[in-house]
């Protein structure tokens, strides 16, 4: 039947049309890794330029483009998709689901992100990349000549739509698709943090959508929201951007917190200390994340009352974050700690992230903020939270879930060398930047004068960046060297949660029988209270699967084409692209697709004919 048909498809067609959350997850990981390498390269080019005073490695315009694209790429095209990749693959497995709630939309989310990312990077070859910083403050961005900012606006609009779709998909999946017994308060922390991050996506991204829409209408159709000579107001952009932008940092870091919670618990051989406190801390951080956006705007002139309120709200976030830090430490306390690469990343994260948190509270002090604002101190702060939190989390998650996702274990020795090199390079690069900022080096400058006490620290910072670059190459080497270390048990780390209960490689239907969950750390419970295997919540039967579809690719391609129409004022092209988009949506609406069934016999065969 249709299952046989599925196997005869070519590999390429299969990946272009897949709606399987595991394959979509791998696509996110692959594309995210590519953009991560690209963003890293951009960073290294900038650091080379700043290696020596008045160095002439890059022209200032190129430097501006690099700093804009580095930030934009790392946030939107690397960190988020890599997290989405892990969420896609792992969350349905952790809650005992066969699929996500909206497989089609999930695939659409990926292709929108990818085409948005490609569009953004096409700007390099079309007369220059965006050059107004990743925050694209008006009027710098609305008046910027050339098409760079147009690419920024449309590229982010398309990939942002994909992110929003992905967020809704995770929310509904987590609420509606949990296995019997998997109550909300039994969900693994990674699933919880995905849930809260998806909430933040849902309520934060529309503000960016509107900000980008306004900037696009201003640049392409001559609207005047930000044009002061027509009565416009430039501060509106800053509010819209940061109403999105501040929750965005929690969208990034909360899932990383979730990853660390899983890893620290697994490799301490202990249940997570203070599970419910962890859940509520996550929720509170998510809530407060919406209350603090104006701390990015202390120097705008909102007045002492507004500044004080936002300063206090910002400092309040240190409380739930502190709860989390102490819970991780107390999970480790008295545990049988295994120093695997994944756990090393988690242990390295705690002090690194705390340092970022401390400078965060310093920055939140609105009076002192006037001194720190727009200096390298800020650059050091957010790299400590983003690299110290998110990137270490992504690498920890990669080493932890690699056997689940790709069916082989990454080499631990190479992994540990990679960890130490990366951590060393990271601190070497960014620690000195605190002091560069404090003695007055502004951020986003293409060059600096010698003999002002900035020379040595800039050189040190650049050397650190090279360490991180070489470390990443080591990680890529590890991926290829380790391919022979096949992992067939399905449970390489003596795991605690449902994703380790299924065979390796993961069957396309995930669970032959939906598991029955009896406690937090469902698998660990069965290992100690049961026979080590999950009880089934249903008899073995045919499994319903969704059909693949090429429409997500076509919808995204249509938007990609239409964007060129908008950027170059080729209205026929814009209309043609939108016709493709709405046409594909129409087909999707009109054509009923009921999927297919994998027969019971096939599942029995795959289980070894039990």
């Amino acid at each position: 039947m249709s299952h046989a048909k599925a196997q005869s498809k070519s590999v390429l067609w299969d990946w272009l049309t897949t709606v399987d959350h595991k394959k979509v997850g791998i696509l996110y990981l692959a594309a995210g890794a590519f953009f991560f390498a690209l963003g890293g390269l951009e960073a290294i080019l900038m650091r080379i330029q700043l290696m020596f005073p008045e160095f002439t490695f890059l022209p200032a315009q190129t430097f501006n483009e690099l700093l804009t694209m580095h930030g934009t790429t790392m946030i939107f095209l690397a960190a988020m998709p890599l997290l989405f990749g892990l969420m896609n693959y792992i969350v349905p497995l952790q809650i005992g689901a066969r699929d996500v709630a909206f497989p089609f939309l999930n695939a659409l989310g990926f292709w929108l992100f990818l085409f948005g990312g490609i569009l953004l990077n096409v700007s390099w070859f079309a007369g220059g990349a965006p050059d107004a910083g990743w925050t694209a403050y008006v009027p710098l961005s609305s008046e910027s000549p050339g098409t760079g900012i147009d690419y920024y606006v449309l590229g982010l609009q398309i990939s942002g739509a994909g992110t929003l779709i992905g967020g809704i998909n995770f929310l509904v999946t987590i609420i509606n698709m949990r296995a019997p017994g998997m109550s909300m308060m039994r969900m693994p922390l990674f699933t919880w943090s995905t849930f809260v991050a998806s909430m933040l996506i849902l309520f934060a991204f529309p503000a960016l959508t509107i900000g980008l829409l306004l900037l696009m209408l201003e640049r392409i159709f001559g609207a005047t929201y930000f044009a002061v000579d027509f009565g416009g107001n430039v501060i509106i952009w800053q509010h819209l951007f940061w109403i999105f932008g501040h929750p965005e940092v929690y969208i990034l870091v909360l899932p990383a917190f979730g990853i660390f919670s899983e890893i620290i618990s697994t490799f301490s051989k202990k249940r997570l200390f203070g599970y419910s406190a962890m859940v509520f801390a996550t929720l509170i951080i998510g809530f407060l994340g919406f209350m603090v956006w104006a701390h990015h705007m202390f120097t705008v002139g909102m007045g002492p009352v507004a500044n004080s309120i936002f300063a206090v709200a910002t400092m309040a976030i240190a409380v739930p974050t502190g709860i989390k830090i102490f819970n991780w430490l107390l999970t480790l306390w008295g545990g049988r700690i295994q120093f695997t690469t994944a756990n090393l990343f988690a242990l390295g994260f705690i002090p690194s992230f705390v340092m970022g948190g401390v400078t965060g509270v310093m920055l939140a002090t609105s009076a002192a903020n006037y001194q720190f604002h727009d200096t390298y101190f800020v650059v050091a702060h957010f790299h400590y939270v983003i690299i110290g939190g998110v990137v270490l989390g992504l690498f920890a998650g990669a080493f932890y879930w690699w056997p689940r996702i790709f069916g082989y274990k990454l080499n631990e020795t190479l992994g540990k060398i990679f960890f130490w090199m990366f951590l060393f390079g990271f601190h070497l690069t960014f620690f000195v930047q605190h002091f560069l900022g404090l003695i007055g080096m502004p951020r986003r400058v293409a060059s600096f004068l010698g003999g002002q006490g900035l020379d040595e620290m800039n050189l040190i910072s650049t050397i650190g960046a090279f360490f991180m670059g070489v470390a990443f190459i080591l990680f890529v080497v590890n991926i290829f060297v380790s391919m022979k270390n096949k992992e067939t048990t399905g449970d390489p780390w003596d795991g605690r949660t449902l994703e380790w209960t299924i065979p390796s490689p993961t069957p396309e239907y995930n669970f032959a029988q939906t598991p029955l969950v009896r406690d937090v750390d469902a698998l660990w419970y069965e290992k100690y209270e049961g026979d080590g295997k999950m009880k089934a919540a249903e008899p073995l039967g045919d499994i319903h699967m969704p059909n693949g579809s090429f429409l997500p690719f076509i919808i995204s391609l249509g938007l990609f084409i239409a964007s060129f129409g908008f950027i170059y004022h080729l209205w026929a092209l814009a209309i043609a692209g939108m016709v493709v988009v709405f046409g594909a949506m129409f087909v999707r609406s009109v054509k009923e697709d009921h999927g297919y069934h994998i027969p019971k016999e096939d599942i029995l065969n795959a289980k070894g004919g039990k």
């Binding site: 309520f203 934060a204 509107i210 609207a223 027509f230 107001n233 509106i236 509010h239 609406s589 009923e592």
Partner: protein
């Protein structure tokens, strides 16, 4: 799947939420509307920040005419009511009633859109272009985004009406109709805010 050609009499009482797919759509759409709320809130905020910035163009009190906007409001509110009738008929199993009331909803939506186009045309005539002032830009963006939502809703419901004109109610199309009507209500609620914040406050505030 096997239910798709079942006659209405055997459908469960709430066919829009009877399947997991239906429940997913229902919940997912509510979340989507949550996001849409932030989207419109951002536009309202922008408008409120810029409504006094009329530059050299006309301001709200010189342009807005309450009778016209009142008629538009009544039309849209009535269209929401007719979409409720449609869902009541759906729950009763009266498929023809569902199609009929949704058709009325679409016609009322079209009438609203016609008035809005006329309204914008008049304003441009009175000297308020999209690029005239920050007020003009933010007004057309807010109300125009709402209008675009109305147009999309009309196209969506019309598609459903044509696609399922002969099929009868099924477990597949019940959630589709239900969700489309939810969307229509949301558009209506946004308009109530536009009526109060833009028009009433524009004239009286």
């Amino acid at each position: 799947m096997e239910h798709q050609h079942t006659v209405q009499q055997t459908l469960p009482p709430n066919p829009e939420k009877a399947t997991l797919e239906g429940r997913n759509k229902f919940l997912g759409f509510w979340f989507f509307l949550g996001g849409e709320t932030v989207l419109f809130a951002s536009l309202f905020g922008t408008y409120l920040g810029l409504k006094g910035s009329t530059h050299t163009g006309p301001g709200p009190d010189e342009l807005f005419s309450l009778p016209l906007v009142f008629i538009m409001t009544m039309i849209l509110l009535t269209s929401s009511l007719t979409s409720v009738f449609a869902i009541i008929n759906m729950k009763k199993g009266n498929y023809r009633g569902l199609l009929l009331w949704l058709s009325v909803t679409v016609i009322l939506g079209l009438a609203f859109l016609g008035f809005e186009i006329y309204e914008f045309y008049e304003y441009v005539h009175h000297g308020l272009g999209f690029t005239t002032s920050a007020f003009g830009s933010s007004f057309y963006t807010l109300v125009g985004t709402h209008g675009a939502h109305v147009a999309f809703g009309i196209a969506w419901i019309t598609t459903l009406l044509l696609r399922y004109r002969k099929s009868g109610l099924t477990l597949t199309n019940a959630p589709k109709f239900y969700v489309a009507v939810l969307y229509w209500h949301f558009i209506d609620v946004v308009w109530v805010f536009i009526f109060s914040v833009v028009y009433l406050m524009g004239i009286g505030g």
